[in-house]
């Protein structure tokens, strides 16, 4: 759940709504968050995986479908 609010003007908000609906997002908020996340990842590369392989293996341990 987002903990902060950003104000958009009416005109932009209207366009956000149109874009969200056109792209198949379930809400304008989801569109805004996804768009920002992608942009932030591109600029900061912060979405890069910082877990080690060991951590990855541990988290998936016990998942019946994979060995």
């Amino acid at each position: 759940m987002p903990g902060h609010r950003i104000k958009l003007n009416d005109e932009l908000m209207e366009k956000v709504k149109q874009c969200a609906a056109k792209a198949g997002y379930s809400s304008p908020e989801e569109f805004v968050i996804h768009t920002l996340e992608k942009e932030v990842a591109r600029v900061l590369s912060s979405e890069a995986q910082d877990d080690t392989e060991e951590e990855v293996k541990k988290r998936l341990r016990g998942l019946g479908y994979i060995e």
Partner: protein, 713 residues
């Protein structure tokens, strides 16, 4: 449930005695007036403690009572408006994960499922189209959001990180605390770990909640971490255990097990000490000392009874006895991290055998629902409420320990017992939710159908090559399971009144006899290259030369193009180059024949552009492999291991599966109402429920509502 059901007879005896004592006490206290002079601390404790509860109840009750008329009037006015448009007052959805339409039909025809047959004859029975790929997290995400995976972002249990080619759990990401305060050898966390739900889309119960319609949602997969909405929810599949894994059991033996490294668990050898045996349960890492490698632990000792096979287990001052083949109740564990910080969990002990070697299985340490280390319900107190009302229960997403059976740390009998223990907990939760939701939606997913079929399909499938010596003993397990679920349907029907009942499954089941190591096939056909000097690769593409690799497979059905600009070492340009490579792979893989059996192993390869639409389709595998029945992704291929053989026998107890061509494994749809629907699909459920409650179906939903006929069973 009445009080007699809740308390065993021994307790009733105690209660009679307690009443007699109470009467005697009243007599003593009332007759000699001077006795009032002395009220000792014991009495004080009792009265203080009980009156504290009463006092809190009273204060809250008073508040609720005073504000109730206002809230009631508001809700009434609102409710009147809502339910005026609604075609139904209550919708109950029982999800039986993996209930197979072919088996259900067969058993109904044989007269073994009277309640399902009743629904079929007087209500609805259809095959329910599943998702592509037909995997539970994908299908249940579509179920709740009414959208295709391109809009909810779940394509498998695993997703891959293009920057590292490493997988991660597709549904949730738990990030450790970033800021810490150093205090000697401790690093004190400043804040809480961040748990992020990676599933997108909005579950239909959120729309209901916004309209003022209450929902109770129990253990629907991919609801961890829980989201806020107007209702109650207990998270299901993919809730981690206390170690942060999807379930890590421990197996303790007096044998030397140092060479055994079971998948999904850990083997530990008992230390003998004057006729007592000591071992420990591994817990999470120390949150205050993240650099320390040894996890936190809780020690326990076992004493063997010399005259019988009974053992006594002592753990944290608590003692209990077990006989071979017996599970303990849930045992509370506290892993001490220092500074009074504790991680709390629960586990069950199972005595596999006492002699000649002592062997004890300890379940994965589940998050304690009464004091959850991570949020597993909405509101947070819902998990607490359920544990106070019904006792502690399994909270781990995949609570039935399939790996323990695969690795023979549990036998079939023990695994079944575990499944039914968990199922009984779920059933009690469900009926409580049903009682608490007289209006609105009540949704519960039962996992037992999926887990038991995965592990016991070999007993009804002659093609399975796993050792089947006990064929006759377990041949009836799946049939018994279906009968059990039928009885559950009967019980629901008896309590549902005028409500609409939907019984559905997210997919069906088929045998899994042969595994296809797709990465090995890709290598043999020049699409995947290994580094110089390597003939094979360890898991997660350890020896893969990405500069010469065009495609790779990860997860249960996914095949990815090593695309430039997307993958870190991508070499195939997006656009036409990718499209033509996909086409080439489709042509080669569709109809791929297993030379050893002469059977087609892959019946269809789906292009993601054709099957997924939506803002998250970029995260989807480029191709989804639709294996033919009896085939599935090989165990090695799923985790990016490259071996020497493409096809191999599946020797594991995990012998049934559904991660194949979705057209081969539809689910079931039963209802006590006649539903007018052609080719119903699981994505239709969410829009249908909204429509029945008189709410508009949001335009982003891909499913189409089913028309509800007025008759009911």
């Amino acid at each position: 449930m009445n009080a007699k059901q809740r308390f065993p007879s021994a307790m009733r005896c105690d209660r009679r005695m307690a009443f007699a004592i109470f009467a005697a006490f009243i007599f003593i206290v009332v007759t000699p007036a001077a006795a009032h002079a002395y009220v000792g601390p014991g009495a004080g404790f009792a009265f203080l403690s009980s009156f504290l509860s009463l006092f809190l109840a009273f204060v809250y009750s008073l508040f609720a009572f005073l504000t109730w008329p206002i809230r009631r009037i508001y809700r009434l006015v609102r409710g009147f408006k809502i339910y005026r448009r609604a075609k139904v007052r209550r919708v109950v959805i029982a999800g039986f994960d993996g209930l197979d339409p072919d088996l259900a039909t067969r058993f109904m025809q044989e007269g073994k499922l009277p309640n399902f047959a009743r629904l079929k004859d007087t209500g609805t029975f259809h095959r329910l189209a599943t998702t592509c790929p037909p995997i539970s997290p994908v299908a249940w995400s579509t179920f709740m959001t009414g959208v295709n995976p391109g809009k909810h972002n779940i394509y498998d249990f695993l997703a891959r990180e293009p920057g590292s080619y490493l997988p991660f759990l597709s549904s949730a990401r738990i990030r450790d605390v970033k800021k810490r305060l150093k205090a000697g050898r401790y690093k004190l966390p400043l804040g809480k770990p961040q748990v992020k739900l990676l599933r997108k889309g909005i579950p239909f119960w959120h729309f209901l909640g916004k309209a003022g319609i209450f929902s109770s949602v129990i253990r629907v997969p991919i609801t961890f971490p829980p989201e806020k909405f107007a209702g109650v929810l207990l998270s299901g599949m993919c809730v981690p255990d206390l170690q942060g894994s999807q379930g890590t059991f421990s197996f303790h033996s007096t044998r030397d097990l140092s060479d055994e490294k079971p998948e999904g668990g850990q083997c530990l050898r008992f230390q003998s000490d004057n006729g007592r045996f000591r071992s420990h349960i591994p817990g999470p890492e120390n949150p205050l000392r993240p650099d320390e490698k040894a996890p936190l632990r809780v020690d326990f000792t076992v004493t063997l009874d010399s005259a019988s096979d009974r053992v006594e287990i002592e753990i944290r001052g608590r003692r209990f006895q077990l006989r071979p083949g017996e599970y303990s109740d849930w045992v509370e564990l506290e892993f001490e991290a220092g500074f009074g910080v504790r991680a709390r969990g629960i586990c069950r002990f199972y005595l596999k055998q006492a002699r000649p070697d002592l062997e004890i299985y300890v379940s994965p340490v589940n998050i304690d629902p009464s004091r959850p280390a991570l949020p597993i319900s909405h509101p947070l107190i819902y998990s607490v409420y359920l544990s106070k009302l019904l006792g502690r229960y399994a909270t781990l997403g995949l609570a039935e320990d399939t790996w323990a059976l695969n690795e023979e740390c549990l036998d079939e009998e023990a695994f079944l017992k575990q499944c039914y223990l968990i199922h009984d907990e779920r059933t009690r939760m469900f009926f409580d939710a049903l009682e608490k939701t007289p209006r609105g939606a009540c949704v519960c997913v039962f996992d037992i159908t999926d887990r038991v079929q995965h592990m016991f399909w070999r007993f009804i499938d002659e093609s399975h090559r796993a050792e089947n010596q006990e064929m006759s003993r377990y041949q009836g397990v799946i049939e018994d399971l279906y009968r059990h679920m039928d009885a559950l349907v009967g019980r629901i029907l008896s309590q549902i009144g005028n409500g609409v009942l939907i019984v559905l499954s997210d997919h069906g089941f088929k045998a899994f006899s042969r595994g296809v190591n797709l990465n090995t096939w890709l290598r043999q056909n020049g699409y995947l290259a290994l580094k110089e000097g390597f003939e094979q690769s360890a898991e997660w593409f350890a020896a893969v030369d990405w500069d010469r690799t065009r495609a790779y497979a990860m997860g249960l059905n996914g095949l990815y193009i090593n695309q430039k600009g997307r993958e870190r070492g991508g070499i195939i340009a997006p656009g036409e180059a990718t499209r033509s490579l996909k086409q080439e792979l489709r042509e080669k893989l569709e109809g791929l024949v297993d030379r050893e059996t002469g059977k087609v192993a892959i019946s269809r390869v789906f292009d993601s552009e054709a099957v997924f639409s939506g803002p998250y389709h970029e995260n989807a595998p480029d191709l989804v492999i639709g294996y033919a029945p009896t085939y599935r992704a090989g165990w090695d291929s799923v985790k990016g291991k490259i071996t020497g053989t493409v096809f191999e026998d599946n020797q594991k107890a995990w012998s049934g599966d559904h991660c194949i061509d979705p057209r081969m494994v539809p689910g079931v749809l039963f209802s006590n109402r006649r539903l007018e629907c052609d080719h119903p699909a699981i994505m239709d459920v969410a829009p249908s429920v909204l429509d029945w409650f008189g709410l508009p179906v949001p335009p982003h939903m891909d499913g189409r509502p089913w028309t509800l006929a007025s008759e009911k069973v």
